[in-house]
Symmetry: C2
Subunit: 174 residues, 2 copies
DNA sequence: GTCTATAGGCCGATAGAC
DNA sequence: GTCTATCGGCCTATAGAC
């Protein structure tokens, strides 16, 4: 809180005029992250390519850049909070879940846009959640190892998985 | 700290006789987790099957059980600390990295034991790290969604990936 | 080795002036 | 709306008796 007040250049009296508690501030931040996903994460990534599957990997590349630009200090801000705060407050857990749903919703839309390129027996919701799972896990391992390799290699494996299910025949065999 | 002292039934004076600081206690806990991986996580899982790849999934099933038994309060204790503590102390980050290396080392050994069943062009170290990545990400998403589905579905997708690289031909196509 | 007692600081939050 | 000033509590850590 001291860091936030200092960065904002205000005193605690001002902060508690707008937010009734520390948790209320956190909930507002999590609402803001929901609003910011599209303009700050999805749209910049989508601007790089029009291919639906390519857009998913463009989003994933954004987290790779974030890791590199911050020297592995910052990965996914939601993931940071997820394991730390989720069992301290049920309201916080629900807002984090909303952020995850927002994220997987955007990935799911890409999968639907690429519908005829994907095998019919692949559940789109489950696959979108798996993309989130791999991203969050890869960010964690990369940050702890202070190396981008675990992230890049996880995304590379995810890509081979996509190449596999994007083909209904066995054309990708090596 | 208050919870730890209460659970241990001692006063803080006793604790600081053995550990010079809060961080020193955390480092000792992380050392203990390194020691405990084999007897508490790996060996119980390995006792269920002798198949090397099956053993990897038996380990992963242990985390599934933990999530269910604790009502999603406890997943991987190392992952809990990873995002929260890694940039507060370099020594802590290194000990967490050691725990991750210990874990992927056990998985890597399984992959080496299954060597001739796996495609030759798959890097064993990278694959072991990917298994860790999927587990940690899946634990996070399952805890936030308070549902075992994201975990089970991530492991299921990982299994199809293993089925794919365990076959040099295209026999697993559906 | 464990206790009691407490130092000294930071924390979240509030009151009231302006 | 923002400030100054401050409260009471909790925290990590220490001192010293036993």
């Amino acid at each position: 809180m001291a860091e936030i007040l200092s960065a904002a250049g205000v005193k605690s009296g001002s902060l508690y005029y707008f937010f009734k508690s520390k948790e209320a501030l956190l909930l507002a931040v999590l609402d803001r992250y929901v609003e910011l996903l599209q303009p700050a994460v999805i749209e910049p990534a989508f601007a790089r390519t029009r291919d639906p599957i390519g857009r998913i990997f463009a989003v994933l590349d954004g987290y790779r850049r974030m890791l590199l630009e911050t020297g592995f200090k910052q990965g996914c801000p939601i993931g940071n909070l997820a394991l730390e705060m989720s069992d301290k407050s049920e309201a916080v857990r629900e807002k984090i879940a909303l952020n995850f749903d927002n994220w997987t919703g955007a990935v799911r839309q890409c999968l639907l846009d690429a519908d005829d390129a994907l095998a019919a027996d692949v559940d789109r919701d489950r696959l979108a959640t798996f993309v989130l799972t791999v991203m969050e896990g890869a960010v964690m391992v990369a940050r702890i190892r202070r190396s981008i390799a675990p992230y890049e290699q996880a995304i590379a494996i995810l890509r081979t998985y996509f190449e596999r299910i994007a083909s209904t025949t066995c054309t990708l065999d090596k």
